[in-house]
């Protein structure tokens, strides 16, 4: 059990396990800030100083004023510096606590507990590497010190090596003389890990053992009770009595609510999580972590003002928390930076159907396309999944990727594209990914499917199921239909790395190799493609609604499809063998052809590049990622002047779902040259869903609409062009004037026309339109 990893997705620093031997020369500097706190973590017997224990007991029992006086009384020279440090710490004066610990190390250099507690102080201020270094130094002094092992494990749980973390936990569990309190902390870390991994049966066993152990050794159990409440909530059991039990042991213990709230948010039960966090801060107003989680939760539920309020409270109480600081920076200008647009406007009923929240700078570029994608996907999913949204759906699109990540999970540096919280989802704008590999339209389509799977099941849908449907819908109904399976996933398929369906959630939640999450996405998508093809789409919907009733995925398969999960796995494997067997058996050859084609292209060896690319296309014609062999064929053909071959390659690329904007724009030119206006229009619209920030795209599409007598649509494209702040503003304004003229709107025509002519008085087409209007008027 202890060999399992405690993983934290939200880790924000990487803690390295290099041993640090010299501590005093290191910059153990705490910011000159105080934490406005009086919450004192239980020490589980780590310190045995009677005077301190007396104060701690008052604190833990909720007698705050008495505890404060008690701690203040410890600030005299009759107490050693490490005890004065504890008192300062408890009173919220971390700077003085830091100074006292430094003095204590000078006076008691051989006492590992001084270093351990100083490390815990660094843990509390989110400086995990410094904390880990101190725990490591303590272990050099006393290799069997269980408190030091627990400290090191805690620091590593914030982004360190899982194996080293497990080693530290095992050291506590296997050390026969380990203090009972340290052993209980190790067990509780394990329980948290099990709960995070949805391993509820094992968690319950560990909880039972821990209660027995704590009872035998007279250790406090309020944290265990809070964990038990979390377990009960996650398994749909009655949980309130466990919270009540924790509070009867420690009446001011905000964690009694915060811990279940944290785990409720882990399983995406945000409404319930918010209730827990709210009760945590009501009970313990100085629970700053609960405030930041409550703020984040409000943000996820689209309650922006309350989110800002609680983030601010959290910052005022604890300015050290990097999550708080990140969110504060984001929210500081959130209401000014983002514009909310409701659809329909005015609403048909009491509420709008959906709301786009777009960055002010991008609103006029994205809004029409985002509106169409949102509307189309809502209509489609409502019908396919028999679910009518009960609230407006909020679509947030962020031009800055890190802002989006902070908004979603509180910390930057995570490679995600979109996150759905229920009726609200947030995602990256194409401007967050300038390298052309990002298809924002598909991301919106994917996230919108999550809205339906989450809300139709009251958030009980398993992760793999929800992701699988989203991927499947991308491929079946999205803006660029067609399966798109990256090369490394094909490699994983060839190596037999697909997981049994009963364990597929592990591939998302507990990956064991690099790239397993994306492999799991693709497997989940293929599973629904398979179910649709083999058993019919209605089985997917049937399975989905069973999660409302508490079915497990295995039960849902048995109930809906009528076979066991093992049988399902076997059938699915046969499907994969049929669909991909020939490709996978020749995967190495295909990959070599791909490599050779691009290498030869780079070296301008046109014939070699073309031959290799043609072989690659023959082996795997559906591969249309941006490094597709079709792109090589098109580029080589262009170089050799073989325009028909270039056109054919680009057309195949697009028809199979390729979306590289530069390739699509070239294809649109070819279609226009050939007079194939409908195809050109379709390609250009697809390009908008890949990258609408290309000026020439809107010129071409707008002109095409004008040519085909659709000035209203042309006008929208030209307005997007103008919103892109083009260098040539005169012609952008002139085009808008022209479209308004075609719509018989003389006032608007003149407004934009004169703007164009003010910029470029000698602009002949605009002058001609002015003459025409003048004569019409006269």
């Amino acid at each position: 059990m202890l060999n399992k990893v405690v993983e934290k997705i939200l880790s924000h620093t990487t803690v390295t396990n290099k041993t640090v031997t010299v501590s005093l020369c290191l910059a153990f500097l705490l910011p000159s800030l105080s934490v406005n706190t009086f919450a004192r973590d239980h020490l589980y017997g780590a310190l045995e100083n009677e005077a301190l224990l007396e104060c701690d007991t008052l604190s833990w029992s909720g007698e705050s004023a008495e505890a404060r006086n008690c701690y203040a009384s410890l600030n005299s020279l009759q107490h050693p510096p490490q005890i004065r440090a504890e008192a300062f710490w408890a009173l919220g004066d971390l700077q003085s606590a830091n100074t006292q610990f430094r003095d204590a190390i000078s006076q008691f250099p051989e006492d590992p507990m001084v270093r351990i507690r100083w490390g815990e102080l660094f843990m509390e201020t989110y400086q995990y590497q410094e904390a880990f270094n101190l725990f490591s130094e303590a272990l050099e002094l006393d290799p069997l010190n269980s408190w030091a092992h627990i400290g090191a494990a805690s620091a590593l749980s914030e982004g360190g090596d899982p194996e080293v973390l497990n080693h530290h936990l095992s050291s506590v569990m296997e050390e026969g003389l380990a203090p009972y309190g340290a052993r209980l902390r190790a067990i509780m870390m394990t329980i948290r890990s099990l709960l995070q991994g949805d391993r509820y049966d094992e968690a319950l066993n560990s909880l039972d053992e821990a209660f027995e152990f704590a009872s035998d050794e007279s250790l406090p159990t309020m944290e265990l009770k809070a964990l038990r409440a979390a377990h009960a909530f996650m398994t749909r059991e009655e949980h309130e009595s466990w919270i009540a039990a924790a509070l009867s042991e420690s009446p001011a213990y905000g964690d009694a609510y915060f811990i279940p709230g944290y785990f409720a948010s882990i399983v995406r039960r945000y409404k319930e999580a918010g209730d827990f966090f709210k009760q945590a801060v009501e009970l313990q107003p100085n629970h700053w972590e609960a405030h930041i989680y409550l703020g984040q939760n409000y943000l996820r539920l689209n309650n922006i003002n309350d989110a800002i309020r609680h983030v601010n409270i959290s910052y005022e109480g604890d300015a050290f928390n990097p999550m708080t600081v990140n969110m504060l920076r984001l929210l500081d200008t959130f209401n000014e930076d983002f514009v909310a647009i409701s659809y329909p406007d005015p609403p048909a009923g009491p509420l709008p159907e959906f709301i786009l929240r777009l960055h002010r700078d991008e609103t006029n570029v994205l809004k029409n396309y985002a509106q169409k994608l949102s509307k189309d996907s809502i209509d489609l999913y409502s019908a396919r999944y028999n679910f009518t949204p009960q609230e407006p759906i909020i679509v947030e699109i962020y031009p800055n990727h890190e802002d989006f990540v902070v908004r979603s999970i509180g910390m930057p540096g995570v490679g995600i594209l979109g996150v759905t919280f229920g009726y609200l989802f947030a995602m990256d704008s194409p401007t967050g990914h300038p390298e052309q590999s990002y298809h924002w339209g598909t991301t919106l389509w994917h996230e919108m499917a999550h809205v339906f799977t989450l809300e139709a099941t009251n958030h009980f849908v398993p992760r793999w199921f929800s992701e699988g449907i989203s991927v499947y819908e991308e491929w079946r109904t999205g803006p660029i239909p067609g399966r798109k399976i990256p090369t490394d996933v094909l490699q994983a398929m060839a190596e037999g790395k697909f997981m049994p369906i009963s364990e597929l959630d592990d591939g998302f939640m507990r990956p064991t190799y690099q790239g397993q999450v994306i492999v799991s996405y693709m497997q989940a998508g293929l599973i629904f493609d398979f179910i649709d093809l083999e058993y019919g789409f209605e089985k997917i919907v049937d399975m989905l609604y069973q999660f409302n009733e508490g079915a497990t995925p295995v039960q849902a398969i048995e109930n809906s499809i009528g076979i066991s999960d093992k049988e399902f796995d076997r059938h699915f494997k046969q499907f994969i063998d049929i669909e991909y067997g020939p490709l996978l058996s020749g995967l190495g050859v295909w990959m070599e052809d791909m490599r050779v084609s691009y290498a030869a292209l780079g070296e301008e060896k046109w014939d070699e590049a073309l031959a290799a690319a043609q072989r690659a296309v023959f082996t795997y014609p559906d591969y249309v990622e941006n490094n597709s062999a079709y792109i090589v064929i098109a580029r080589v053909s262009s170089q050799l002047g073989n325009h028909e071959e270039e056109f054919q390659a680009l057309q195949s690329f697009w028809q199979k779902g390729g979306y590289l904007p530069s390739a699509l724009l070239k294809l649109a030119d070819y279609y226009l040259e050939r007079g194939m206006k409908a195809e050109a229009e379709a390609v250009l619209m697809d390009t908008n869903y890949a990258d609408p920030f290309i000026e020439s795209l809107h010129v071409t599409l707008g002109d095409l609409y004008m040519e085909t007598q659709r000035p209203a649509q042309a006008l929208e494209e030209y307005k997007v062009l103008l919103a892109l702040d083009p260098l040539d503003k005169a012609s952008a304004n002139y085009r808008i004037a022209n479209a308004y003229n075609a719509l018989d709107n003389a006032e608007k025509t003149m407004e934009y026309l004169m703007t164009a002519l003010d910029i470029a008085p000698q602009y002949r087409p605009a002058q001609q339109l002015l003459l025409e209007m003048s004569r019409t008027r006269n």
Binding site: P434, E435, Q436, L727, D728, K729, A730, M754, L757, D758, I759, A760, P761, Q762, Y763, R764, Q767, Q768, L770, L771, S774
Partner: protein, 310 residues
């Protein structure tokens, strides 16, 4: 009837008066200095830029007033001698445009533009510009670290463009090729008057640099700068010839009338603050309508002439 269009290939700057045939007296002297590339690809790129700038400059200036200096002819002594003779040739009414195409370096105190032998320094550039008669001269330095010269060179009497914000932006720059391209680009001619001004060339190149770094997903290592007044009205190149006269006297008169109207429009635009917005638009509209009618008449006359010939 044969039509003859006289192109304005006379050294000038595109102020309102330069569009008027009677006012073309000030000369533009162009000097293009091509520095050392150090590597074949840079040599080739600098040569390409130099050629583009030269060709663009010849749309405005006489060949004798466009000087390209590169290789052994671009030593410090040769450059100083060139500018000494240029200073002697110019009058107070003339203007100079100086292009520095190459690499630069900055050691925290002194900027150097890299040429064979001793480099040209920022102090040399100050001396060169100070030595020229008249005012409102223009210098563009496309080199790395070129921003280091701004403080020393900028003043109200000259327009300075650099490829970088300061001397700390040391990477080889992307600005130069874009600036050279702007001089022959219709896209850069934002006001569609067939001229590319300093401001238009700068806007085009600056935008292109930004797009280059954004599209390649790289952190921008250069931030072009412009200093000084008058960049909007200082023409560097013409993208199409301007018609000043025609064999047909009626057309010739109309061309003159159109130039007068264009001058009135520019004059109105400079005085726009004197009017309310609706007054301004009304006046602008009236003038542009007249100009449009004149253009239409010219086109009609030409079409009928063409029909007569056929």
């Amino acid at each position: 009837m044969n039509k003859s269009i006289t192109s304005l290939f006379i050294a000038s700057v595109a102020m309102i008066s330069t569009l008027m045939p009677t006012a073309v007296q000030a000369a533009l002297y162009v000097t293009i200095v091509q520095g050392l590339g150090g590597m074949p690809e840079f040599d080739s790129a600098f040569t390409d830029q130099t050629q583009k700038i030269r060709e663009a400059s010849l749309t405005l200036a006489e060949e004798s007033q466009v000087t390209s200096l590169g290789g052994d002819s671009a030593t410090r002594d040769a450059l100083l001698a060139h500018f000494q003779s240029l200073a002697a040739a110019m009058t107070d009414a003339d203007r100079a445009a100086i292009y520095l195409v190459g690499h630069g370096s900055y050691d925290g105190e002194q900027y150097k533009f890299n040429i064979p032998g001793p480099d040209i320094t920022d102090a040399d550039l100050v001396d060169i510009l100070d030595s020229l008669p008249g005012q409102n001269h223009f210098l563009v330095n496309t080199s790395s670290t070129s921003g280091a010269i701004l403080e020393a060179l900028e003043n109200e009497n000259r327009i300075i463009i650099t490829a970088t914000r300061n001397g700390n932006e040391k990477n080889a720059t992307e600005f130069g090729p874009f600036f050279a391209t702007a001089l022959t680009s219709e896209t850069a001619d934002i006001n569609k008057n067939n001229n590319v001004s300093i401001q238009e060339a700068f806007d085009f190149a600056e935008r292109s640099v930004t797009e280059f770094f954004e599209s390649s997903g790289k952190l921008a290592t250069e931030h072009p700068q412009i200093r000084g007044e008058g960049a909007v009205s200082f023409t560097l190149a013409r993208v199409q010839a301007v018609e000043l006269s025609d064999d047909n006297p009626r057309i010739s008169n109309l061309l003159t009338r159109r130039l007068e109207l264009d001058a009135e429009i520019e004059s109105l635009q400079l005085r726009r603050n004197e009017f309310t917005n609706s007054e301004y638009i009304q006046r602008l509209q009236a003038l542009i309508l007249q100009s449009a009618e004149v253009s239409e008449e010219i086109e009609t006359l030409r079409e009928s002439s063409q029909a007569d010939v056929e």
